[in-house]
């Protein structure tokens, strides 16, 4: 392995910025976040970076490495062509605050629109592991917002006002498919989260570091629900009833 790697890192803020070059000594098993920390500690103490767990569990360290949306704590240098400089830039779909830190507050506002879990009164709190297994996939989401970053509805068409984005379809799926939940979120999906804008390009699924099958397992079934419930509200009622019985 070569002794040094070159990094071109975006330095700037809302007003603009440019790529700046840094040299970093390479150690075995090193990840991009290690390199960013090295730069902070030795060359650019004010380099703005988010991170917490350094183990792919918190979803803080998202950025675009050589143009690809990644968790920097899980992007190994030995998987990158180090003969060329490694470019690290902030997620493009969110406004830059500074350097690699972006303003993701929009996501938190979308989340507020989603009605929380609610179970029927006097339910017995029993569930089958198989029913639980079906939803766990959606609940693995670490809110890295990489899927939001790549979705063209947000990235290219800026439909932030009309569209909730893949992260929140995953969230709704995690609630809707909870074995004991009795809330309907189909109107929300259609009218407020604009699920109709999604044309199933699967870009979100490709970048998800948690390997959640966002499109196949969350979005498509939710789209089907929206259609069903729109034309046949009785079905919604039956489905929820069935869910409840499954759990008991």
């Amino acid at each position: 392995m070569s002794a040094n790697a070159t990094f071109n890192i975006f330095r700037g803020d809302r007003l603009g910025g440019e790529l700046k070059e840094y040299e970093v000594p390479v150690a075995p098993g090193m990840v991009v976040l290690d390199a960013l920390h090295y730069i902070q500690g030795h060359a650019a103490p004010d380099l703005a970076v988010r991170w917490n767990c350094k183990a792919g569990k918190c979803g803080s360290c998202s950025a675009e490495v050589n143009g690809k949306p990644r968790l920097t704590c899980k992007t190994r240098l030995d998987d990158l062509p180090l003969a060329e400089a490694v470019t690290v830039q902030p997620m493009k779909s969110f406004p830059v605050i500074k350097d690699l830190v972006t303003d993701v507050s929009w996501n938190y506002r979308v989340n507020r629109k989603i009605p929380p879990f609610h179970a029927p009164e006097s339910v017995e709190w029993k569930m089958d592991q198989r029913d639980v297994d079906r939803v766990q996939e959606f609940r693995k989401c670490i809110e890295c917002f990489l899927c939001q970053n790549v979705c063209h509805v947000l990235r290219d068409h800026s439909k932030q006002e009309q569209f909730g984005g893949p992260r929140f379809f995953v969230r709704v799926a995690g609630l809707e498919m909870h074995p004991l939940d009795d809330v309907s979120r189909t109107h929300l999906l259609k009218d407020e989260l604009g699920i109709g804008y999604c044309n199933i390009t699967k870009c979100c699924t490709e970048v998800c570091p948690e390997d959640i099958h966002i499109t196949d397992n969350a979005i498509i079934p939710l789209k089907e629900r929206v259609i069903d419930d729109y034309y046949d509200p009785v079905r919604w009622f039956l489905r929820k009833l069935k869910g409840k019985n499954n759990g008991a």
Binding site: G41, P45, K57, K74, K126, E143, L175
Partner: protein, 570 residues
Amino acid sequence: MNEKFETHEHDVLIIGAGGAGLRAAIEALGHGASVAVVCKSLLGKAHTVMAEGGIAAAMANVDAADDWRTHFRDTMRGGKFLNNWRMAQIHAQEAPDRVRELEQWGALFDRTSSGDILQRAFGGHTYKRLCHVGDRTGLEMIRTLQDRGVHLGIDVYMECAVTRLLKDGDRIAGAFAYWRETGRFVVFKAKSVVMATGGIGKAWRITSNSWEYTGDGMALAYEAGAELIDMEFVQFHPTGMVWPPGVQGILVTEAVRGEGGILRNKEGERFMERYDSEKMELSTRDVVARAIYTEVREGRGTEHGGAYLDISHKPAEYVKRKLPSMYHQFRELADVDITQGPMEVGPTCHYMMGGIRVDAETAQATVSGLFAAGEAAAGLHGANRLGGNSLSDLLVFGKRAGAAAAEHAKRSTPVNIEAADVEKAAREMLEPFERAAGDSPYQIHRELEELMQNYVGIFRNEEDLQKGLAALDQLQQRAAGVKVEGSRLFNPGWHLARDLKSMLTVAEAVALSARERKESRGAHSRIDYPKYDETWAKQNNVIVRDGDRMRLKQTPIDEMAPDLRKIVDV
């Protein structure tokens, strides 16, 4: 009051948005208080999100014989009887209800065949007691609390860092903070403040903790006059990753051993037989950490200076289902397939048993209007925490702190904040920009990590602790003169300059308490005093501020209530 700064007024200010802070916020809101939560990171990124193994509660879903008494006894034994026994009792009694409540708010736990919450074995717990969701229990917990809190209407100020508590005479009046995004200052006025800021692991080089763990809550409370207790008890988790270098310290959950993982040295020997032949790998963390450390020191360590931890005798599908994040973590970061071969592991600084001294019933600190819960508070865990007892601690005492803080606010007259105090807090933050020369905060931090790792680590002795204290003194002086570059916009170097002050204060409290306790107990091992000592069995070390100096005193442990004594004496 000072008109110059953005000011927010609430009944209850909660500092920290981990499990403890969020649970406190939900409760305070339920008591009719207006509640603000501030946190250094984005909402949902606190340490609680990283918790893996599970939450301990005597639900008796798997082992019917379990009850709160056994949980209480295990906790006291694990803590070597230094625990605040009333806290241990409340914790054991209330944890099951807190878990059920979490489930009713939407958390989805793994299930037993009869449909109840599944529980797994963990070190020091007599029965299968840890409710879990694979190995991402903390994520499920924090999302559940966060969504409930937000929908109930708590105001969350994220990426906002508190740098000082403000007082009105002897009582708490609020806090001074800055927005990380803009560097602008902000004042929070509140009758009650709950510290839920977590631990101090970032003062050690090898740690499972994030950049947030700089002991802020403990240091701020100390500066405001509150007592700290049990500061010598720092938990080194036996199993952190050791290779490659960049991942050193990252946690390998105890659930690996809970699910049947076996520890071996390089000779292939199952060495726990020599340290605890009864509980083996599921002995308490202090014992397992020392065992691995000793194996390595005596030349039986692995290639990269650790021990082997092996779960590959279990079916690959089972390992992937029960330990999915461990499977990915090793595959992606260390090129190891844990279903096929062993992991290399070694001790890593993980958890702070010590912290802000609180009242067992109300979580109130020794300053009026100040409360503390979660890792920032102390008492429940004594000399050593059992795995899984932190997540339950957050819920049980977070709830109590939130209720007590709201009630305190109701009873209190309005508070006043002195403009001069606010000015002083602002000046302290701006000084590092104005210095012409000085060390980089990163340099001081590296030296601190090295110092704590070498002199205030797993095994301690008088000479090292003396050296450590002298070096800390020097670092404190240099830290007071650090220079910061760049602007106030999201500036991690500037932030670290302030965090250093907290870390150094807490590090000094740890080293002082460790030097004083001339015995070995739980996580505190003195090579020069390897045995238990009767005198030290009956007292806690307490740190308190005395003018500009740190003072150490001892307070006796209350006699345990007779009915509880009967439980532990079995």
